[in-house]
């Protein structure tokens, strides 16, 4: 935690920017993990919720002059509703079919965003450019450093919400539905409600993340929210560790930094690496990096004794 606070002061602006983005992704990954890791509902289309949050923030800031910090909860609210509404028909879909439906959502999203009848709002294929928020004078921080702390604060808040949710009754219900849906139903868990709520909350997290992302990147355009974004998010939770809160952080670091490093090898390399890692992790490390860390800690603990 202390390291996280100290970092912006020792690293260059560009690195701070990258770290900020990693934090943004971590929030999105926590959201997706809730849905897929804890509740067992596969989503290959969460990029769509990220895009929704981003566009809500961009439109509010650009068309209505709403201050940036207000747009974040607004985006969250919109996505909470959108996710819940999408979750309702999705109730009837299991595993594979849900993956199909969300895949369709992910693929169709850029086209929806480019739809000419809403171009007035969305800026069409060119998207919207957002002004970068200024750091307040009393802080003495650069813009990037200020943004970093804003995002860090949001991340802490979201993680706290998530942690609370997952430890409580809702979280147990979610896991029960994932592992034994019929038994859960028989024991009185309102499966339909929990599943839809989980979709909504998961979308909310991703929407908040999208809004923050838009603010940090200062730009939204339809083609940045293609199916590849949705797939990146899935890569993130798989590498980080399904059904793990810390996993969101490991996964975010992976999907933020690996493409940058791999890009230097070749344009195709990042995705090739994603693909290989996805398959490898499924065979070899299904619990992801978080699982590995847990294992190492347990072994270390035993060895010390």
């Amino acid at each position: 935690m202390a390291i996280a606070c100290a970092l912006p002061f020792v690293l260059s602006n560009y690195r701070v920017f990258q770290l900020t983005l990693a934090l943004v992704y971590a929030i999105a990954l926590l959201g997706l993990n809730m849905l897929t890791g804890y509740n067992g509902q596969i989503s290959l289309g969460h990029g769509a919720f990220y895009a929704t949050g981003a566009y809500v923030a961009a439109i509010l800031m650009d068309r209505f002059g709403v201050p940036y910090w207000l747009t974040v909860p607004a985006a969250g609210a919109v996505c909470l509703l959108a996710g819940f509404l999408f979750g309702l028909p999705a109730l009837r879909l299991e595993g594979l079919y849900l993956a199909l439906a969300t895949y369709a959502l992910g693929v169709a999203m850029p086209q929806i965003l480019k739809y000419r009848h809403i171009e007035g709002w969305t800026g069409g294929a060119q998207g919207i450019v957002i002004a970068k928020p200024e750091a307040p004078a009393w802080s003495g921080l650069s813009q990037d450093q200020w943004l970093y702390f804003v995002v860090l604060l949001c991340a802490l808040g979201m993680f706290a919400i998530g942690w609370n949710l997952l430890r409580g009754r809702m979280g147990r219900a979610m896991v029960a539905i994932r592992d034994q849906p019929i038994a859960a139903e028989a024991m009185g868990v309102n499966t339909a409600m929990v599943k839809s709520m989980t979709f909504g909350v998961s979308a909310m997290f991703t929407g908040v993340s999208g809004a923050l992302g838009a603010i940090v990147v200062q730009f939204v355009a339809p083609d940045s929210f293609s199916i590849l974004l949705s797939i990146s998010l899935v890569v993130g939770i798989v590498i980080g560790g399904l059904a793990s809160i810390q996993g969101a952080i490991y996964g975010a670091l992976f999907i933020q930094f690996v493409p940058n490093l791999a890009d230097q090898i070749s344009k195709a390399a990042p995705w090739a690496i994603y693909g290989v890692f996805l398959i490898a992790f499924m065979y070899v490390m299904p619990t992801g990096v978080a699982g590995l860390v847990r294992l190492v800690c347990v072994r270390l603990g035993r060895w010390r004794r």
Partner: protein, 289 residues
Amino acid sequence: MNALLHQMFSGLASGGIYASVALALVMIYQATHLVNFAQGELAMFSTYISWSLMQAGLPYWGAFFITVAAAFVIGVLIERVIVQPVENAPILSVVIVFIGLLVILNSLAGWIFSYTIKPFPSPFPERPLFGNSYVSSHELGSIGITLIVLALVFVFFRFTPLGLAMRAAAQNPASSRLVGIRVGWMLALGWGLAAAIGAIAGIMVAPAVFLEPNMMAGILLYAFAGALLGGIDSPGGAVLGGFIVGVLENVVGAILGTDIRLTVALVLIIGVLVVRPSGLFGKVRVTRV
């Protein structure tokens, strides 16, 4: 009227492509109850193989048949090496492996062949047949080839011993073992056939959409829609669904504007899944508690 007819024929041509890919999807689904998310990328990669063969000097049809054979082999290998180990894993793992495959094939194509868009030749003459203004020779030829492939597949499954064994292995693997069928190899064969069919679809569509690594992404979505509409466990239904989606997509695109076409697929997919998941011709499945 002219325009509508033209749209319908175009729709049938693309519908044929969707029908082929949908058939490939259904073949794998019938045998494994899994949807191969990487089907489109497999087809795309195979199309690149035929492009390379032609660049190396092979005539069109020579490259065509060699590519189909190569795709078959690749499909078999993928099933044996990558899919078989996760056969009994939870659905999330399998979906992730498929996505991984999708991504690897896509980036491999980009790396080996670069991302620049390439033109792809058509074996059919430039001028439309009989000088008509509704349908190009390529579209007509494409529909023809699709129908031939589908007919061959139908005959194979219905009238040959191997086709019968594959149907049996897909429906009832346990009983199939009891008559001596090597079920594992039947699955591999199914993947091989699906890959071959996909390759033909890719080769047929490339002249129209141009060859590039992302060319199949939208087509895969339409194929999903077609397969679901027709019934994901009914090969005949999937083919019909593919044609319907093709025509629908073109006609709706002409009326509402082409930029909304993918959304049509999305709406169709969700609609079918919610209203009648078994599709028009599939079997309704009842889960016993």
